[in-house]
């Protein structure tokens, strides 16, 4: 029972790993890596659930009566594209953050922001 659902366990595991990286790491690139892993786990989740027991690949063929459901795969193609766009935009932002702050570490950026904040408010 538990082993039979192993791909769902992988999904949960990957999701937690990704989520943990996003929260725990201060490096902006690592955060994006975590975010990508997090999103990928959802892709696997969708693909797993499209599977129909003893169903074959959803390509019309003689002598096959049971097909897996192709719709989740199609949905996830869209989600993958969205994921790529997000990662690309995130990386572009990191490049510009590096240019203007000279760092991609969260705490260093926050210290610099605090300094500007103090300067403008007094």
């Amino acid at each position: 029972m538990l082993l039979g659902l192993y791909n769902y366990w992988i999904v949960v595991l990957l999701m937690m790993i990704g989520f943990y990286i996003v929260i725990a790491h201060g490096n902006l690139i690592k955060k994006l890596v975590g975010l990508t892993i997090f999103q990928t786990s959802v892709f696997i989740f969708y693909i797993s659930m499209g599977n129909v027991d003893s169903g074959s690949a959803p390509i019309l063929a003689e002598g096959v009566a049971r097909y897996s459901n192709p719709l989740p795969h199609v949905l996830i193609l869209t989600a993958i594209v969205v994921g790529i766009a997000t990662t690309a935009l995130g990386l572009a932002l990191v490049v510009r953050i590096k240019e203007s702050y000279g760092s991609i570490e969260e705490d260093e950026i926050q210290i610099q922001d605090q300094l500007t904040e103090d300067k403008t408010s007094c």
Binding site: F19, T86, G90, V94, S121
Partner: protein, 492 residues
């Protein structure tokens, strides 16, 4: 042609977005964007009229029947949201050409309009579609362009704010995606209407509970409900002024719409409010949000920060109306959606005008502006009064209905707390008024002139709307009432 209005609302700005990039002349592109958003505005008025007179409009994309094809479904609620987004989008865009000349480098102007149109496309898509996966796709279109728009800000902190928003927003959107996946797993359908029917059979399973939790948390991240609001203040404060005015008036509203749509239409009131104790949770979060955010607003020195925190507080009011889950409560929420869009777009545009003239929105820089920019500051005052909820402004109307709704179900403490929360708004608005009107102009600064008319016209159009809809409440109340009644399944 008439039958295709629902899809034109989304397609026209989508097609215009790349066109902006090809035209590549700042003023020309501005006119095009303005024309397109004016079209969507007229279109949404037309749709609203049609919905009010002859009921829900159903549009099937490509002629495919509903559970298989994607359908667009416009009822009173959708039509109201479409009107809010398109009208605010148009009015704000009117000031864009003047504003971005000071705030953005020349080569970014056309990209700005492309992103603006894409963002508005995403929002239109979210509120018109009747398909949950479509919601996710449009949500990402509007969010991704919003991240890029925020990153256009002059201050380098805009980049950091956009990055944080990107991380939080993507987590929210992925949560929504997980929720949608689980719903599909249980029912085999993505159509909202179909989901509502099929969920009834399986709604006591753990998967559906998990789906609901993922969806609600994801949406709440997007709408900046109190503990999940951390991305909002900096994103609003450092984005270009036009972007702030636009996003503050629309982005969180769209998320509130999704919350209402998912809990009322897809899962059903029964499930959302009786199986799960959502109302107590949301009531507490809403109230804590009002007090925490309003208190934070009092101590901020950047005026954009002040109003950004006030936005979080205002989301709290909307959530309280939602949590009361009566027809009146929901109506108060919908009215506040409409009214808050009017107030915040006027206020942030006025700040944009200040930014245009003095290049800063620090509170200390506001000294003497009351006399030097009388019309702009008067707009801030009226907008502020509306935020507080003074009679004859729109803010009063929605708070009134919220109080009525709370008293109707006997929640006296909530009503009292809502009133106390409004008093906090008095404090932060007064700080701005005091500095702008009762302090002498800063020594050593050249006399500041009044904002150009391209700013004043949209600002005062919004301010007058604030007053008009505060006095003549027929239109807004009627639509909000019809929308909330149709969500509760009451036939008027």
């Amino acid at each position: 042609m008439l039958a295709h209005l629902p899809i034109l609302q989304v397609i026209v700005p989508l097609m215009a977005a790349p066109l902006c990039w090809f035209l590549n002349r700042s003023k020309l592109v501005w006119l095009l964007a303005l024309l397109v958003s004016a079209f969507t505005c007229l279109n949404s008025i037309f749709l609203l009229q049609q919905v009010m007179s002859s009921g829900t409009i159903i549009y099937q994309l490509g002629g495919w029947d509903a559970p298989w094809g994607i359908e667009y479904r416009i009822d009173e609620l959708n039509a109201l949201l479409l009107l809010i987004i398109s009208s605010v989008g148009t009015v704000v865009l009117f000031a864009a050409h003047t504003s971005i000349q000071k705030e953005l480098p020349e080569d970014r102007h056309t990209l700005f309009y492309s992103l603006y149109l894409l963002s508005i496309t995403g929002m239109f898509g979210i509120v018109s579609t009747g398909d949950v996966f479509n919601v996710f796709v449009f949500l990402e279109i509007s969010s991704l362009s919003a991240y890029a728009l925020i990153a256009l800000g002059k201050d380098r902190r805009a980049l950091w704010a956009a990055y944080q928003y990107l991380i939080m927003g993507t987590i929210g959107a992925t949560f929504i995606l997980i929720g949608i996946g689980m719903l599909y797993q249980m029912t085999g359908t993505l159509n909202m209407d179909d989901l509502a029917n099929r969920l009834a059979e399986v709604n006591q399973t753990r998967t559906v509970f998990a789906a609901f939790a993922f969806l609600i948390v994801g949406v709440c991240l997007k709408l900046a409900l109190f503990p999940l609001h951390l991305w909002l203040p900096n994103a609003y404060a450092y984005a270009p002024s036009i972007v702030t005015a636009f996003l503050a008036a629309t982005a969180t509203k769209v998320a509130v719409y999704l919350l209402i749509r998912f809990s009322f239409t897809v899962f059903g009131i029964e499930f959302s409010f009786t199986t799960l104790p959502l109302q107590n949770l949301f009531l507490v979060l809403g109230l804590v949000g009002i007090f925490a955010a309003s208190t934070a607003a009092i101590y901020k020195t950047n005026v954009k920060h002040i109003f950004a925190y006030s936005s979080i507080a205002q989301v709290g009011y909307m959530i309280i109306g939602y949590a009361i889950h009566t027809s009146t409560g929901l109506m108060a929420t919908l009215l506040h959606l409409f009214n808050h869009a009017l107030m915040k777009s006027a206020l942030f545009l006025a700040l944009g005008a200040v930014m245009y003239r003095i290049g800063s929105v620090q509170l200390s820089q506001f000294q003497g502006l009351g006399r030097q920019m009388p019309l702009t500051m008067a707009a801030v005052v009226v907008g502020g009064l509306s935020l507080i909820g003074v009679p004859l402004t729109v803010g009063f109307v929605s708070k009134w209905y919220l109080l009525v709704a709370a008293v109707e179900v006997g929640m006296w403490p909530v009503a009292v707390l809502v009133l106390l929360g409004s008093l906090l708004a008095v404090v932060y608005i007064w700080r701005i008024v005091e500095i702008a009107y009762f302090k002498p102009p800063l020594p050593g600064r050249e006399a500041v002139r009044e904002a150009p008319w391209t700013f004043l016209a949209p600002i005062w159009a919004l301010v007058l709307a604030n007053i008009y809809f505060g006095i003549d409440t027929r239109l807004s109340v009627q639509v909000a009432q019809a929308a909330s009644q149709s969500l509760f399944g009451i036939n008027p």
